[in-house]
Each structure stands twice: as C-alpha cells, then as structure tokens.
C-alpha cells in the first residue's frame, strides 16, 4: 500500500515536471525577431523602387516621360512571376502617364498596392507620386 502510494506520487511528480518544463520552454521563446521572413509583394515593390531611384534613374525616366523605358526597367527590377501596373501622378495628384505601364495586366491571387514619393534632381525639383500595383 505504501509502495503503491509512492509510485502514484512519482507518476504525479513526473506529469507535473513534464508540464512545468513545457511551460518553462515556452516562456523562454525569444522575443527578438530575426526579421528574416517571407517578403510581401509590397515589400518587393518598395525595395525595387528604392533601388531604382538610388541613382535617380526612376526620377529621370519619369521626368523624361519615358514610359516604355520605365516599363522595361520595372520588368527587370521586379521578380519574375509578379505582374505590375504603374501610375505616375504629379505633385498635385494628376495622373501623367498617357499609356499603361504594365507587363500585361494584374494577374495573381493577391493584388497589393503601394505608393512611392519621388523627387527629381533637376533645377526645379519636380515631385511625383508613383503608385505601383502588384499581383502575384
């Protein structure tokens, strides 16, 4: 009877230990994130625009109204399999591109949109708002 009681006590102790260890491990899960995860369409689009205008390329193409060249540059800058549609607005919100800047229309299960503010390194400092819609 005494031995049986001791075994039950050990069983209960083992069970409690397992749960306690699980709780302890869960509590120690790091709060810091490594920020390496899946990139969203928005993130990829924003990265592409930031990189494109690092040396002012995007601004120069917009300023020169080179819509065809802009489309080609975006085709290269964005990952394959991502569809895009770009609209350029002037400082006061009027759309500028009179042709569609796209690689064939927005296709994909997810469509996201982002805006990028653009300043051009020319004498009058034109400002533009670029709206990029992405599908993937």
């Amino acid at each position: 009877m005494t031995r049986r009681g001791a075994v039950h006590t050990l069983d209960a102790f083992l069970a409690a230990s397992i749960i306690a260890m699980a709780l302890l491990y869960a509590a120690q899960t790091p709060r810091e994130r490594d920020y390496i995860g899946e990139e969203t369409l928005k993130g990829e689009g924003m990265q592409a625009l930031v990189q494109l205008n690092g040396n002012g390329t995007l601004g120069r193409l917009v300023e020169a109204r080179s819509w065809g060249e802009l489309e080609q540059v975006l085709r290269i800058a964005l990952p394959g399999g991502v569809s895009f549609n770009l609209t350029v607005f002037d400082e006061f919100g009027s759309p500028l591109n009179n042709v569609t800047i796209s690689n064939g229309g927005l296709v994909g299960r997810t469509v996201e949109s982002l805006e990028y503010l653009l300043a051009v390194e020319s004498g009058v400092c034109p400002l533009y708002r670029v709206r990029l819609q992405l599908g993937g």
Binding site: V7, R33, M46, A119
Partner: protein, 251 residues
C-alpha cells in the same frame, strides 16, 4: 490493481499531450508573428529609406538650381514643398518631416557657394531632417543630415620656353561628398592679355581623363607675365555647377 497502475501511466501520457499542445501552440504563434512583423518591419524600413533617399534628391536639386544662379531661398521653398508632400503621402498614419537649413559661418540659409580664387571651389547644400512616423503601433523618431557637396581643385605649373612662350600643365580634381567623382562638363580657360581664352583652340592642346575624377591638360601659348591665371568651370554628373580660379607658378 492493474487499473490503478494504468491510472499513473494515463496521467503521464496526458501530461505529455498537454506539454506537446503548449509547445505546438507557442511555435505556431511565434512563427505567425515572425512573418507578420518581419514583412511590416521591412516595408517600413524601405519606406523610411526612401524618404531619406528622396530628401537627398531634393537637396541636390536645390543645389543644382542655386549653383546655376537661382535664389538661395529656392532651397527652403523646395524643402517646404517636400515636407508637405511627404505628410500627405503616408497612408498608415501620421508622417511629419521637418527640415532645418544648416546655418554656420560657412553656410547661409543652408547654402555654401565658395568659388575661391585659390584653386579650390565648393558648392554645397546642407539640411537637418527630423522624421516622425506614428500610427498602427508604429512610432519612429529619426533624425538625419543631408550634405551634398561638389568640390573642384585646380593645380599645376608652367615651363618657360622663352620669349613669354609657356607650356602650361593643369590638373583638375572633382569630388562629390568627399569622394572622387566624374564631371559632366569642364571648361578650362586661361587669362591672356586681359581676356579669357579657350586652350582648345591651340594646336598644342591635350587632355587626359584618368576616369577617376582627375583631368590633366597641357597646352603651349605665348602668355606674358610671371604666372598663368587659369579658370575652371565644372558641371558634375548631377548638374551641380562649381568653379574656381588660380595662378600657376613656374615649375
């Protein structure tokens, strides 16, 4: 007796199941948060990086304007336009960008045009920016300084060939923000009998572009005097204008 012994085993198995559930749930929540936070964090970082990058372009555009004769007040006007534009361009909350023009002994209203007669010319624009983003659990306060500077340095000497005939060697070095930079256009002139002359018109004119922001020129002409006065006018690849003059001694 057997049933009672099994009760203990069931207790341990149940504890294992509960522990496993706790750990699995924790791992799932962690992974979900990780993905969400990482993508939002990356997007926000790129947005802020974009604001800083375009602020540099605004400062550069203003320097292009002012260095070509525009009013210094254009710099402040451009920054004010940019502040308003940025405030209206952030859809996830509040975005305030405040620019302060650099003011010191060398800068006036954020601009420094020091086109000296000592062989060194500087065109520079400088402003301090304070960016404040808020909303949707995000609070960012960040300050950065943008200083865009084009600097040209001219040096050289001449060899006296007799009867005021001189072989002149000129070296021009261009820098953007302290690093060697290529020039868009360079106009070199020398002073002869009170008027500025273009050495390209001489048969002896030669130019060497080192490809690293250093340009060397040589030419021969009859230039009276004990020194040769030269002037260099440069537009860098960004369009910023800078010029300087200097007197070249006998080598």
């Amino acid at each position: 007796m057997l049933t009672k012994r099994r009760k203990g085993q069931v207790l341990v198995v149940a504890a294992l199941a509960i522990a496993l559930t706790i750990l699995t749930t924790q791992a799932y929540v962690y992974e979900l948060n990780n993905m969400k936070i990482s993508s939002e964090h990356g997007l926000l970082s790129d947005y802020i990086l974009g604001i800083k990058q375009e602020s540099r372009h605004v400062v550069t555009a203003s320097l292009v304007n002012v260095s070509h004769g525009g009013a210094a007040s254009n710099f402040e006007a451009n920054l004010e336009r940019w502040e308003v534009f940025v405030a209206g361009g952030y859809s996830l909350g509040r975005c305030d960008l405040n620019a302060t023009l650099a003011s010191s002994t060398t800068y006036s209203d954020g601009i420094r045009l020091d086109w000296g007669a000592n062989g060194s010319g500087v065109s520079s624009a400088c402003a301090d920016f304070a960016l404040n983003l808020g909303g949707r659990g995000v609070e960012v306060d960040w300050g950065f300084t943008v200083n865009m500077t084009s600097k040209v340095e001219v040096s050289g000497s001449y060899d006296d060939l007799g009867d005021d005939s001189k072989q002149v060697s000129v070296s021009v070095n261009l820098e953007n923000e302290g690093a060697s930079a290529l020039a868009g256009t360079i106009v070199l002139e020398y002073l002869k009998s009170g008027s500025w002359e273009d050495p390209k018109n001489l048969g002896s004119y030669a130019k060497l572009d080192s490809g690293n922001g250093t340009y060397r020129y040589t030419f021969i002409d009859t230039i009276p005097g004990t020194f040769v006065r030269v002037r260099v006018r440069v537009n860098d690849l960004r369009g910023v204008f800078v010029e300087t003059e200097t007197s070249l001694p006998s080598g």
